[in-house]
């Protein structure tokens, strides 16, 4: 008689994958049947309309000094832009790529350092007592204040830019991770210890998965902060980057280019944060299923 070897693990992974895809598909389909995406579109269009009415149509005092959406769009989609930057110029994409790469590096460093630090601070009270006051002190220092020290501390130029960008993301990640660990019900830890779990098992089976929702919330916030702090960091850049573009547009009074850079930055921040949210949903299927029930 032949016995069949059943790969339980593979079957479970396949089921989880198909459930994940079904959950995502049903989630997307469900979203379209609700009013949320339509209201979001109405909100965005209303903001655009308000901007146009204030700046270009009614030319309300003070708002008439700002470039309106038509002026910005004219520059943004021009083959021969007045200020030398549009979707048809390669420099626009050079700025985007340089900024995106800097944010990715800063974010990865913030995650690599912030998550373990937050986990350890949450797990070991003594370590937290040593480190928390220092963290709280450093967290309050504005990014701009770090710029001169960043230039002196790092040998190259990119290091200084990435460091300033990293700082905002790092604190958000660390604190949210710490909160995640602290949010775990003490009962789980006691139960695990009663059942004879080792410290390693408690960490990987309870602390880490328990803190994951907060970690991912922190990662979303820290991605936003990375884009935010990029502006301060790219003061040092000197050549490419959306933050650099904002500074030089301000100095050369190229207001439409300034708005183009701001909107592009906002869009990239939105997309990157949404990507992290999606990754988080995929990794925390147990939470998605719980919410669906």
């Amino acid at each position: 008689m032949q016995t069949k070897t059943i790969d339980v693990k593979a079957m479970a992974e396949e089921e989880i994958s198909s459930v994940s895809q079904a959950v995502l598909r049903s989630g997307a389909k469900h979203a379209l049947t609700t009013s949320t995406p339509y209201l979001a579109a109405v909100g965005l269009l209303s903001t655009l309309a308000g901007w146009y009415l204030l700046c270009e149509f009614f030319k309300v005092p003070y708002f008439n000094e700002l470039p309106g959406p038509v002026a910005v769009a004219r520059e943004w989609f021009s083959r021969n832009p007045k200020f030398g930057l549009s979707i048809y110029t390669p420099e626009y994409y050079q700025h985007i790529c340089r900024s995106t790469w800097r944010v990715i590096q800063a974010f990865l460093w913030a995650t690599a350092l912030g998550v373990p630090l937050g986990l350890f601070m949450g797990w070991e009270k003594t370590f937290k007592d040593y480190t928390f006051p220092v963290l709280e002190l450093l967290r309050r220092i504005p990014m701009l204040a770090w710029v001169p020290l960043a230039v002196l501390m790092f040998p190259g130029r990119e290091g200084s830019v990435i460091y300033v960008t990293f700082l905002g993301a790092f604190f958000a990640t660390t604190l949210n991770t710490l909160l995640g660990v602290q949010s775990i019900d003490e009962v789980y830890l006691r139960a695990a210890r009663c059942l004879g779990s080792s410290s390693r098992q408690v960490f990987f089976r309870i602390i880490l998965p328990g803190a994951l929702p907060f970690i991912f919330t922190g990662l979303q916030i820290s991605m936003g902060y990375s884009w935010f702090c990029l502006i301060a960091g790219e003061m040092i850049a000197g050549e490419y980057g959306l933050g650099y573009l904002i500074w030089t547009s301000y100095i050369t009074v190229a207001a439409p280019v300034l708005v183009i850079a701001m909107v592009t930055l906002g869009f990239l921040g939105w997309v990157s944060t949404a990507a992290i949210r999606l990754i988080g949903r995929c990794l925390m299927q147990w939470q998605v299923r719980e919410m669906a029930q």
């Binding site: 204030l54 003070y62 000094e65 230039v151 000197g238 030089t248 050369t252 009074v253």
Partner: protein, 371 residues
């Protein structure tokens, strides 16, 4: 839910219309604002105007708000927004300000200093750079090096023109603010930079920290440094008496500054506003000689007050250069971009002819300040 939506909508509308109710100080006939830069040599006379009380003398009963900034672009934006009526800056940023006719009519009304590249186009190299025989050799050295200057400034103008005329191509040309440039010199991350006075004297080896040294000036490519006073057109047209009064104060301040017996007092006055700038460096930036071997000439600065033909030619040349760089929208200045009628009238009434003063440049040993 409906109440929350209503509340949210009201909050959004309120946040949008609040700026309309915030008072924006502007000229109402008895008050106007002047934007100047305590850390830029071509506006040093504003410190003298304030210290000598020249506003009270020529504009009795008028309140003048002197606003300080680290560079001209801040005043450009403030002038375009109607928050400042009078501004001081070099030709490059003043041309940009005057080119934005769709936003505001801004005009170049007076000159406050002309130099053969010794006030705003000083090419500094790191302290351990080689000693060059000529300025040409020095500029050729920056080929393939990391160079920086502040974007849209007179120093930026000089560097771009120098690259163009001399066929020099640095490895990287960075546009960084003057504070970042100073820090980069300290951190030895920069090979060269074009900066203006008094920063050049502050970081240089003639009267300063010695973290950099002057290797060439704008004289190398015939690039003149010109300080401009600009004014909003509506201010000139509606309040010509205020514009005239302020220009009279400016003339007296320039005459005071260029009088050799007032050197010590001038530096003391400037030192009160350029906080943190050593007086030794302030003196050297104004009165110190730039060595001939790096392109220094005599006089160091001359003050025409009016915008004469040579300055007009320079303004037009810089404008054309900026048009190529897409920094201004038109090929030439507007017809009334240069409007020095009031300055000419004041000079004629005083029986003066340009230059109204000159600064020759003295050797380092003449510096009366030790720090």
């Amino acid at each position: 839910m409906k109440k929350a939506t209503l509340f949210g909508t009201l909050a959004l509308l309120l946040s949008l219309i609040t700026p309309l109710f915030i008072s924006c100080t502007s000229s109402d006939g008895q008050k106007f604002a002047v934007g100047w830069q305590p850390y830029y040599i071509s506006t040093f006379q504003v410190a003298i105007i304030q210290e000598l009380g020249l506003v009270k003398k020529y504009l009795p009963g008028v309140e003048v708000d002197f606003q300080e900034a680290l560079h001209g672009a801040i005043h450009t934006n403030n002038m375009l927004a109607g928050k400042v009526e009078v501004g001081y800056m070099a030709v490059m940023p003043s041309n940009i300000a005057c080119s934005k006719r769709d936003q505001a009519d801004i005009r170049e009304v007076a000159n406050n200093g002309v130099s053969n590249g010794m006030t705003c186009a000083l090419l500094m190299a790191r302290a351990d750079a080689p000693d060059f025989q000529t300025p040409e050799e020095a500029v050729k050295w920056i080929d393939g090096k990391v160079v920086a200057s502040p974007r849209g400034s007179c120093a930026d103008q000089f560097m771009r023109m120098a690259f163009d005329k001399l066929g020099v191509k640095p490895a990287e040309y960075l546009n960084q603010s003057i504070e970042i440039i100073q820090t980069n010199f300290r951190a030895r991350k920069l090979d060269a930079s074009a900066v203006w006075e008094p920063t050049a004297s502050r970081i240089g080896n003639l009267a300063g920290e010695g973290i950099a040294k002057i290797i060439a000036t704008g004289n190398l490519i015939g690039n003149q440094d010109i300080g401009m006073m600009i004014m909003r057109g509506d201010f000139i047209d509606k309040h010509p008496d205020l514009a005239e009064g302020y220009l009279r104060a400016e003339l007296e301040a320039l005459q005071f500054m260029t009088d050799p017996k007032n050197q010590h007092k001038t530096v003391e006055m400037i030192g009160k506003y350029a906080v943190g700038m050593p007086k030794r460096a302030i003196w050297y930036s104004l009165y110190g000689q730039i060595p001939p071997q790096v392109g220094g000439t005599t006089p160091k600065q001359s003050f025409t007050f009016i915008i004469d033909d040579e300055i007009r030619k320079n303004i037009n040349e810089v404008w054309a250069f900026q048009f190529k760089q897409k920094l201004v929208a038109t090929e030439k200045p507007y017809d009334n971009t240069i409007d020095d009628r009031i300055a000419r009238k004041i000079l004629a009434e005083a029986g003066l002819k340009p230059p109204i003063g000159e600064i020759k440049g003295q050797p380092p040993d003449d510096n009366p300040f030790t720090k």
